[in-house]
Structures are given as C-alpha cells and as structure tokens.
C-alpha cells in the first residue's frame, strides 16, 4: 500500500464507490469510516446524496426522536445503511450478539442494535468489517441478529448489497444467497481472501484489483470531511483526518 494514504482513507474511498448518486444514507454511532465515505459522496454529488449521522450533533436532520430513523426506513426513505458483525456467514447472516451458545455465550458483544430491522427495510445495506479472518467470516453464525435472506412470505424490500473488508470487496446475490468476490485490495490475493474466509463464495475467472483512492477525492476528504465528522466522531476526525475540534458541546 502506498504511503500516500492511510488504510482508513483507502477504505473510505472503497465505500464511497459503492454509494449511489442520490438518495439518503444513514450512518450509526460507531461507524466513522462509513460516515466519512457518505459525507464524501455527498460532497461529490453536490448534495444529491444526503447523509444522516443518526447520533450526531451535526449532520443529524432527525427531529422526532430515536424511532424516526427506523420509521423512515420503514417508509422506504433510507436508501443506504451500514452494518457489521462479530460474525458474518456465507448467507450474509449477521451476528452482533456474541460467540458461543446463546444465551450462555463465551463472549458477549453489545447486541443487535437495529440490524434486525434495517437489514429488511434499506435496499442497499453495505456490510463493513475491516478484520478479514475466519474468526469473523464463519460458515454459520452462532446467533443470527439479522438474517441475510428471507422466504417470499416475509416482506423484505431491503438487504445486503456488498461487503467491504481490509482484504477485498464482495457483492451479495440475494436470489442465490451467496457472496461473490468483486475485487481484491492492492497487495492482497484471492488466495489470501479464501484462506481467511470460513464460508464458500463465488470467484469470477478474473478478479480485479480494488482501485486506489483518487487523489482529488483524498484532497476533498482531508480538506472538508474532517470538520464534518468531528462533531460525531471527534477521536476519528483527529486521528485519521487530522482535524482537531474545539472542545465544546
């Protein structure tokens, strides 16, 4: 990887390419990399792609309390959302609860948050989990916080669109219920992805290398987005984007 950008900046650029030209993106509390990517896309689309940092002091348009994001998703007004997982399996099932046998888990994590709902209602859910290991990408999750696919008698306009990790980008085919490798990041290989993935996935004959960040986008990211994310992710803004917010509420 070039010295010209950080790994976080690389991932931001990867995610930005997965975002639509217009619509509403919502970003949860603990997601600074997707948050920065979404704000960058807003900048690149001249505001046609709108961004809500749902727990942010700034860039948070919601005015009707904690349920408004979920209501808006149910109304079909949220086009992009980001989810992760302690474990993710080959059917895009997400586990945010813990590992081991529920309820007496070996390792307990915070919980499912809104995943079990947003995954059903948001058309383009981007899975973001930097750590690419067999510990994360398992054959079968220990607990399904949110299922990747649903039977036809369950109304489901939303679901998984793509997966971004430190190694690669995958897409998800909802009809087949399978991931497909779309590109491998510079310096990594298809074999490395396979070795570190505990589930089977489709691999095309030729797998492209994930493009590096466009320099002009890096400039925008560094010049404008740090200030934007500082209100919600002050640590991240300072550490990654070099923006130091003034101490204030």
């Amino acid at each position: 990887m070039s010295e010209a950008y950080s790994s976080e900046e690389f991932l931001i650029s990867v995610i930005t390419r997965l975002l639509p030209e217009r619509g509403n993106g919502a970003i949860g509390a603990a997601s600074p990399i997707p948050g920065a990517a979404a704000l960058l896309q807003r900048e690149l689309t001249g505001g046609a792609f709108r961004v809500s940092l749902i727990h942010g002091i700034t860039n948070n348009p919601f005015t009707d309390g904690g349920r408004e994001l979920f209501d808006a998703a149910g109304q079909g007004r949220i086009d992009v959302f980001f989810l992760g997982g302690v474990q993710i399996d080959g059917q895009a099932n997400l586990n945010l609860v813990g590992t081991g046998a529920y309820p007496s888990l070996d390792r307990r994590f915070p919980g499912s948050f809104g995943s079990a709902y947003m995954y059903f209602t948001v058309p383009r859910v981007i899975l973001f989990r930097p750590e690419h290991s067999r510990r994360v990408f398992v054959d079968k999750v220990d607990f399904i916080s949110a299922p990747g696919i649903s039977p036809p008698d369950v109304h489901r306009p939303g679901g998984p669109h793509a997966l971004v990790t430190e190694l690669c980008v995958m897409s998800f085919d909802r009809a087949q219920g399978r991931f497909r490798l779309e590109s491998v990041h510079p310096g990594h290989s298809v074999e490395e992805v396979r070795d570190n993935t505990g589930f089977d996935f489709d691999v095309p004959d030729s797998v492209p290398i994930t493009p590096e960040p466009e320099p002009e986008r890096l400039d925008i990211l560094r010049a404008k987005i740090g200030r934007e994310v500082a209100g919600t992710y002050p640590d991240f803004a300072e550490r990654v984007l070099g923006y130091r917010a003034k101490a204030s509420a």
């Binding site: 509390a29 919601f62 904690g66 369950v154």
Partner: protein
C-alpha cells in the same frame, strides 16, 4: 414542602420496578442513577430505550439489576460495557435481547393503550426465537401481506430523564429528543432531574412547547446541575470521554468496578442542586 433532591427521587423507584432508561446520547440522569445505587435499589428490570451504556453498566455492576432488556449495551467509542459483558458471560445477569425499533414500538403500544403492535422485518432473527412473548402471525387483516411480527406492549413502571429545563409546574423540556415523550407517555410515571428552572409555563411558550413533556406525565422533578455527567447533555456540556474510557478500563475487573463505585458513586453523598 421540602424541595425534592435527587435522593428523594430515588426513593420513588421501588425494588423490582420495570425501569426505562434513555440511551447515552439522550439526556440520561446519571446523578439519579448514582442515587438509586446509593439507595440500594434491587431486582430491577431495566429497559434500555433502545440501548444503554454507562447507566445500565453501573446498575448492573452494583448488583441492582435482575433482568436487562436492550437492543445493545455498549460504551460506544470506549468499547464494551464491562459490567454488562462480565455479568452476561458469567451467567449472573439475565439478558433479554431485543432490537431498537422493537423497543420503540412496544412503548408506542403502551402509549396508545393497545395490547400489541405490529412491526416489519426481524422475522428470521434469532431474537424472535428466544422471545416467547413475541409472536409471528399470518397477516391478521387477511390482505395477503404475508407474515408479520406482533410485539406486546411494554409499560415501564418508572422512566427516568434528565432535562435541560423544567418549570415550577412540573413540565420538562427535552427538545427534539422525542423518544423521551414516548417513554413518558408509555410509563406509569416519570421522574425527571433538570439543569435549569424555566421562569414561566413551558407548555404555554409556542417555541419551547414543541419540546416539552407536560406535567401530567411527570410525578416528581429535582434540580441537579450537571446531572447527566459524565455523559453529555446536548447544548450544555459534552460527554467526558476520558472519564468513560477510564471507567471502561478500571471496571474490567469486579474489583476495579468496586473501587470506581466506592469513589464515584457511594462516596458522593449528596449531589446538590448547585
């Protein structure tokens, strides 16, 4: 009539209560949480609306909680909630997993006085498998809309909130944090601490009324300046992340938690109004 303080409010939370807490970003009455621990409250069923952090973790570590119901318990950027994580892993805490909109919806059912409310999505999540109070049914309208999840109403015994403003009539201003409206409407009663007293009737002010919970939902209020600290209060003071991070580290062991508790909770006998 004496002016109620935070400890007087804590007396009004009975042991065994179903206690609703706002999320860390939404006006958590931390001084009242500490007073509850000092009063030795027991067997609480804590409902996070819909997630919690410091407040739930302190109550759990101090042994006040019988059942935790939440979409998540986490210290956010400071990482896992140490007492919650330990207590679930060692089996001493019963956890009722939920998901954010399910908690909002179950409170809306109580707000409307209906026994249940439907919610889209969620079917196929293991959360449903372990919730025998939830029910998946075929569209009861018979309109061919497929399966849908029905959630029973949740009616908290007591809701707690810390507000930037209150008035002498017992009205409480929470701005756009309308989940606190829903909690107060759904709960049997609400106890509120607040930063500053508003001179006048908050419900009569055309601008402030839009963010005011009327007194009819509030059974007691007490002034506690900086009453949300170490959490933040939007517009007043930011979250003290250094404090939260230090807590996350110290409370990784029960001994460390106990030291924190003694120093920061039990040691603060009276949190005065000023």
């Amino acid at each position: 009539m004496t002016i109620p303080d935070v400890d007087a409010l804590a007396e009004q939370v009975p042991d065994g209560a179903l206690l609703a807490l706002p999320p860390d970003y939404s006006f958590v009455p931390m001084a009242l949480i500490r007073a509850l621990i000092r009063r030795g409250v027991k067997d609480l069923h804590v409902l996070a609306v819909p997630i919690s952090g410091m407040a739930a973790d302190l109550l759990i570590g101090a042994g006040c909680v019988r059942l935790m119901e939440a979409a998540a318990v986490s210290l956010g950027e400071a990482g896992l909630a140490p007492s919650f994580t330990r207590a679930v892993q060692d089996g001493s805490l019963k956890m009722r997993d939920s998901t954010c909109p399910a908690i909002h919806t179950a409170l809306q059912a109580s707000e409307k006085g209906v026994p249940f409310m439907p919610l889209g999505g969620i079917i196929g999540s293991d959360i449903v498998k372990y919730r025998d109070d939830w029910k998946v049914v075929d569209d009861p309208m018979g309109a061919g809309n497929g399966k849908i999840l029905l959630l029973p109403a949740i009616k908290p015994d007591v809701a707690l909130v810390h507000a930037p403003l209150a008035d002498k009539y017992g009205n409480v201003w929470v701005g756009k944090r309308h989940e606190l409206f829903t909690i107060a409407h759904a709960a049997k009663t609400t106890l509120a601490t607040y930063e500053e007293i508003h001179d006048g009737d908050l419900t009569a002010d055309p601008v402030l009324a839009a963010g005011t919970i009327p007194a009819m939902y509030i059974s007691a209020t007490a002034q506690v300046r900086e009453g949300a600290k170490p959490l933040g209060l939007a517009g007043c003071y930011p979250i003290d992340m250094d404090h939260i991070r230090a807590y996350a580290k110290e409370a990784r062991s029960q001994e460390g938690f106990d030291a924190y508790l003694k120093r920061e909770v039990l040691g603060r006998q009276a949190e005065a109004a000023s």
